[in-house]
């Protein structure tokens, strides 16, 4: 058995919806329903499904932004919801996230270097000089220059901002990168550049990736394995080539057909 980095075991998450009537209990939405999967070191796992299928809820739970209602999430063998706040903060350097909209996740009034250094400062282990060196290093790793760190987010194009978000995510040398629709807002040519960058970083740094997307063609080009989610349930899972080549469910077939057009 290969080295397991992340194990998601029977995880469910429910949300209470607003009350529809005064004397009836509030309806409950099951965002994730009994999901289980593993992620091995160095692997990329794609999670596909349409909006509302529970992709982002799953990501939030893996990132320990939200606890699951039932089930466990083990990262490097540790239950991330059993840790105390200090332990969790330290562990956070090992899993980082890249969001869809880099403009929303970068502070417009801070320099890019400040934003990239933020996770390192939050962990509180690195000296300011060390952080400066590391920021310059990651900027170059994502195809920007150390000088770009002095600029502000609005001075960059969408693709470059996504590079900055990736630089910030890899600054703490994580073992796992969670990318939530990280290339969805980009034009095709820029999207291809960012996908290539992610593939390179993965090879160079030995990263594992949880790659969330509604675009099957994108998932097909970057993921080793894939999970298809519908209404919070895992419909199918397996090697990307196999699942997309011989989809077992009608829903997966419709997604494949949509991606082929």
């Amino acid at each position: 058995m290969a080295d397991k980095l992340l194990a998601v075991e029977n995880v469910s998450r429910h949300y209470k919806l607003p009350k529809q009537a005064l004397f009836r209990p509030a309806p409950v939405l099951t965002a994730v329903d009994q999901a289980s999967f593993d992620l091995e070191r160095g692997q990329t796992l794609g999670i596909v499904g349409e909006s509302g299928s529970g992709k982002s809820t799953l990501a939030k739970m893996v990132m320990a932004f939200e606890p699951p209602d039932t089930g466990r999430i083990l990262f490097q063998g540790q239950d991330i919801n059993a840790l105390d706040a200090g332990e969790l903060r330290l562990l956070r350097q090992d899993f980082q996230m890249v969001f869809q909209d880099p403009f929303g996740s970068l502070d417009p009034r801070r320099t890019v270097a400040w934003s990239i250094g933020e996770p390192m400062r939050a962990i509180g282990r690195a000296a300011p000089a060390e952080i400066r060196i590391r920021v310059a290093e990651v900027l170059e790793q994502v195809g920007l220059t150390a000088k770009d760190g002095l600029k502000f987010p609005h001075e960059f194009s969408g693709g470059q901002r996504q590079r900055i978000a990736i630089a910030r995510a890899i600054s703490t040398r994580p073992a796992l990168l969670v990318a939530d629709e990280a290339v969805s807002a980009l034009d095709v040519s820029v999207q291809a550049q960012i996908l290539n960058l992610l593939m390179d970083l993965q090879a160079d740094l030995g990263l594992s990736m949880l790659f969330i997307s509604h675009d099957l063609a994108v998932v097909a080009s970057i993921c080793d394995k894939v999970i298809v989610l519908q209404k919070g349930r895992i419909l199918e899972a397996g090697d990307t080539g196999h699942v997309l080549g011989n989809p077992a469910h009608e829903y997966t077939r419709s997604l494949v057909a949509a991606a082929r057009m």
Partner: protein, 320 residues
Amino acid sequence: MIELKNLSVTLGAAAAVRDASLSIQAGDRLGVVGESGCGKSMLALSMMGMVPDALAVSGQITLNGTAMPPRDETAWRPHRARSMAMIFQEPMAALNPLRRIGDTVMEPMRVHLGLSREDAIKRTLDLFAETGIRDPELRLRQYPHQLSGGQRQRVLIALALACDPALLIADEPTTALDANVSLRITDLLVRLSRQRNMALVLISHDLGAVARATKDILVMYGGDIVERGPTAAVLAHPAHPYTKGLLGARPRIEQAAGKRRHLPTIPGSVPGLFDLPKGCRFSGRCSVEMPHCARSKPENVNTEQGQAACHQLKEGHNGG
């Protein structure tokens, strides 16, 4: 029906659209593709007479044989909704959140066609049926937030059809939608165009949707129309290096399937309006660039599939 001749939309020295000419007839289905910031939406707005005041418009716009002054509101207003209508990317932003959907859809019928409330309700229900909106009677009374994204986009399409336009311009109608919903909306637009003999202009950066829905295609880059022709032929045998680059960069499900292989890319990104090269807009990113490309604007050359504007083609090379 509508014709643009040497249309340019400029902001000082910068051109958002440069020298665009095109003509659309009833029943045409035209796709406009290119990356963000290439002038696609500005081209569409100029066909609606809605170019923002800050920009200057030059060239000719002819609508049903009449020359249209680019920004004379009184000249354009009677044509909007009836001659042409437009739908936008984000249906939530285009619908008034405080008004019932029925009232919003009925407004153009009452203003432009002078229908009574009863007739407008009847017509709205017909349009809801035609555009595949479920529970039409209920929808009339609902508010936009009570609908899913796909249903909202159908409402916008019904709204655009309210006065039987001869031309429907859809600006990224499916970008905000899930892949399989987007497929159904694209197919709906094609069906409506066929049934009503209505011209459709589909603006999208999604080459798949354009390939599926349109007969002809315009490829825009940096405000220029760089290639045009029948959609299937152009996408099968692109002549312009930009069209080739766009097609190459597209991840393809049948090829990739978990192999984790690098995708071909176009280096760099679309420059800002003021940083565009004077000559060929694509110079600086082009793989087959020649020294004079950045300085002189390429002429349109006839290709096997249509037309393309590239110096390589003009000099008898085959662009690679």
